[in-house]
């Protein structure tokens, strides 16, 4: 009855057959469906109870039958996305409409999906891995999960394309220092993130996210640009200021808005989202205005006034964090997968990313929201170094563990 071939594993059909069979094969079910004959007698014996069972059974069967509906005829493109639904859902919908190719997405965090990909091995149904961090993509390369992409794809991004050619950048974000402008004067803030430990007034008022991947990428960059010892000294100097550790940026930025801390090492879009809301904004084809984010005058809707501080151009504190996607070795439709990546780099898709989640495009001809930095200015912020070096995450983790941060 079962076809164990690879095709059915990937397509919907094989799975759903199993699901159909699942409850039918269960011998217990027979009794469920047909309670002892006695209970169905004319004297209405025990009807409420069998009624209850029937309702439950009906629920189970209803679900089963839905599951049994054959999902699709055509081979669908399966995307494992570490990026959240807020961005991916709309883009995938856009893609579906254009190509009429069935696409389905499995969401998770980068690490969950990587763990799943590793455990799935060559039985993975996934075609595309779309990650939040270069760290995750590098790890995927290390584990030999990705395929090499054609130059036609690799040439599209203006910057950040990796030498390995196994993934393409899709968007980029920047490390920034978010601060409460009623408690901190931006002129008191240092030109380089390496100067931050010297601002003693910030004792107990700093927030950071040592366990979060973008922070770890940043530490890796510090190690690469400034050297191992400098990175260790910086971590120690920071710890002397008794920073508060958050698991992720969202609670940290809310803590900043709530006045719990006054400065926070974070990513640029968290500040923008706090101030300008989330994905509901429609993309408007307006050319970037000259207004700089840090000079934003608009009063925050609730909470403390939170603003963005960029360190001096080229400082490692402004590190660009690149998100990207690659085609998996297990994919049996690599062309379609590459076509999808091509779509992600199309101006429309790029512009949508900018408008919906406030991230910067990686292709030169896409627009951004008017409250964001113009693309060229933003790209100039980040230091220039070999981004492949961000792969060396293990040494960073060892350093963080050494310093008691993990």
């Amino acid at each position: 009855m079962w076809n164990f071939g690879e095709d059915t594993m990937k397509g919907g059909l094989g799975r759903y057959q199993f699901w159909c069979g699942f409850f039918r094969l269960d011998p217990d079910n027979e009794t469920l469906a047909a309670p002892p004959r006695f209970t169905r007698s004319d004297t209405a014996m025990n009807r409420p109870w069998s009624g209850f069972l029937t309702v439950l059974l009906a629920a189970v069967l209803a679900v089963t039958s839905i599951g049994c509906q054959q999902q699709t005829e055509q081979e669908e493109l399966v995307i494992y996305s570490g990026r959240s639904k807020a961005l991916v859902d709309s883009l995938v919908e856009m893609y579906r409409q254009r190509t009429e190719r069935p696409v389905s997405v499995k969401y998770g965090t980068d690490s969950q999906l990587l763990a799943a990909l590793k455990e799935e091995g060559d039985q993975s149904p996934a075609d595309v891995f779309w990650a939040n961090t270069t760290g995750a993509l590098s790890n995927a390369i290390e584990n030999d999960l990705l395929t090499t992409l054609p130059d036609s794809l690799m040439n599209r991004p203006a910057r950040f394309a990796p030498a390995s050619k196994q993934w393409v950048p899709v968007t980029t974000r920047f490390r920034v220092l978010a601060y409460n402008s009623s408690n901190v004067d931006s002129t008191d803030l240092p030109a380089s993130v390496t100067g931050l430990p010297e601002i003693d007034e910030l004792d107990g008022r700093i927030g950071w996210t040592p366990a979060y991947s973008s922070f770890q990428d940043f530490v890796t960059a510090v190690r690469t640009v400034e050297g191992e010892d400098a990175a260790r000294q910086w971590l120690q100097g920071m710890q002397d200021l008794n920073p508060k550790s958050y698991t992720s940026n969202t609670p940290m930025i809310r803590a900043l808005a709530a006045g719990e801390i006054d400065v926070a090492l974070t990513n640029h879009y968290y500040v923008l989202r706090l101030k300008h809301g989330g994905a509901e904004g429609e993309y408007e084809e307006e050319e970037g205005e000259e207004e700089e984010a840090e000079e934003e005058e608009e009063a925050p809707r609730r909470g403390a006034p939170v603003n963005t501080y960029h360190f001096a151009s080229g400082d490692v504190g402004n590190l660009a964090l690149v998100t990207g996607a690659g085609v998996l070795q297990t994919s049996d439709q690599r062309e379609a997968a590459q076509e999808f990546l091509q779509f992600l780099l199309s101006p429309d898709a790029q512009a949508f990313a900018a408008s919906s989640v406030n991230e910067y495009p990686v292709v030169p001809d896409a627009g951004v929201q008017n409250y964001m930095l113009p693309v060229d200015d933003a790209l100039a912020l980040s230091p220039d170094f070999n981004y492949d070096q961000l792969q060396e995450i293990d040494a960073t983790l060892a350093l963080l563990r050494d310093e008691g941060l993990l």
């Binding site: 007698s41 004297t43 014996m45």
Partner: protein
């Protein structure tokens, strides 16, 4: 081999390989239409025997048969539902979620629905319980619940029913009446039954034959009269009712005792223990005989008869007499047996046994404590 409705052979049960047997080599037959009682104090193994017959316990050794069908043997185990044996529980075990009628119809599911309801109503009528069909068990009195339990067991018309202390949860007044009704019902239907009880009066009045059990073994099987008047062992003599025990010096069918020379039910010699039920003794004025004299020390008038306690040679004896024989405490009397005394098998060393009367032990706890 006789095709008895139930035949138990050398049944033994241990709960663990190293543990002493709870039931030890028990054998008995139940004939068609017979009511058989297993009587004994609690912990004697009677309920375990019953559960082996019903199929809820696996026998360690021995066989259980019905007709020519083996139900239980070391290699065979017919599951309870396939044995066709009815069972009435001490606490009735009525299904609380079902009505009275549904409870009674529970064992009839192989029949068509109309038939099922009709049969269940008949069974309820049989036990004299109509108009309660739609009640739930907890809305009934104890006596009514007992009848429902009985009707439920009788409804599928099993050849054999097992009754596990079915009357013990009823109050004394109700108990006697119910007992007689149930017995009449079983007899009318020609059903065979095995009753388990610790109440000797219940066993004697309800059963056609009684097996007295002790320590996992059957001590004696016989008709109620047999086991009552002709107990084989001290335990049976004591457990079935009050009796007078006498150490006697036997020679042939006669023996010398503290109350004089008496007749024995069978030839014997040497020192033996004999039992004389109080109603087999009578009192006579001292001048009529030269035998040993006693003194009346207590008198209990019970209407139709009188029970005297008589001291004779340092021991006390119980004597039941009709109510026209009147003595007062302090009167000198002679104790005269009216029947031959029963010679008991000397299981227990005679020296341990005090002479004189002993009480039956209706309280199983006390009996157990005594035998321990």
């Amino acid at each position: 081999m006789k095709d008895n409705v139930l035949s138990v052979e050398n049944l033994s049960k241990r709960f663990a390989p190293a543990a002493p047997p709870v039931v030890h080599e028990v054998s008995f037959d139940v004939e068609d239409g017979e009511i058989f009682a297993l009587l004994g104090p609690s912990g004697c193994g009677k309920t375990t025997t019953l559960r082996c017959i019903a199929g809820f316990e696996r026998a360690t050794e021995g066989t259980v048969r019905t007709r020519d069908r083996v139900l239980e043997s070391p290699d065979e185990h017919v599951s309870p539902e396939e044995r066709g044996i009815g069972l009435v529980f001490q606490d009735y075990a009525l299904f609380p979620h079902l009505t009275v009628l549904e409870n009674v119809a529970f064992g009839l599911r192989d029949r068509p629905p109309e038939d099922r309801t009709r049969r269940a109503r008949e069974a309820l009528k049989m036990v004299g319980l109509t108009d309660f069909d739609d009640r739930k068990p907890h809305a009934l009195s104890g006596g009514q619940q007992q009848r429902v339990a009985l009707a439920r067991t009788l409804a599928p018309e099993p050849e054999l029913i097992l009754l596990d202390e079915p009357f013990s949860n009823l109050d004394a007044l109700l108990r006697q009446g119910t007992r007689q009704e149930v017995r009449a019902l079983l007899k009318e239907k020609g059903m065979s039954a095995v009753l388990v009880t610790h109440d000797q009066e219940e066993a004697l009045s309800f059963a056609d034959r009684v097996a007295v059990m002790r320590g996992g073994q059957i001590e004696q099987i016989g008709t109620p009269e047999d086991v009552y008047y002709r107990p084989r062992t001290l335990f049976v003599a004591q457990f079935l009712g009050r009796t007078n025990l006498l150490l006697s010096d036997a020679a042939g069918t006669e023996a010398d005792t503290a109350i004089g020379r008496i007749r024995l039910d069978r030839p014997s010699s040497g020192t033996v223990l004999v039992s004389l039920r109080p109603e087999h003794l009578t009192l006579e004025p001292p001048e009529s005989d030269a035998g040993p004299r006693g003194t009346v020390v207590g008198r209990a008038f019970k209407g139709h008869d009188i029970t005297y306690r008589v001291e004779c040679d340092g021991a006390e004896y119980l004597v039941h007499t009709h109510n026209r024989m009147s003595y007062e405490p302090g009167d000198p009397v002679c104790i005269r047996p009216q029947e031959a005394a029963v010679v008991l098998e000397s299981r227990t060393h005679p020296a341990d046994v005090p002479g004189g009367m002993t009480e039956a032990a209706p309280d199983p706890e006390a009996a157990a404590a005594e035998s321990a």
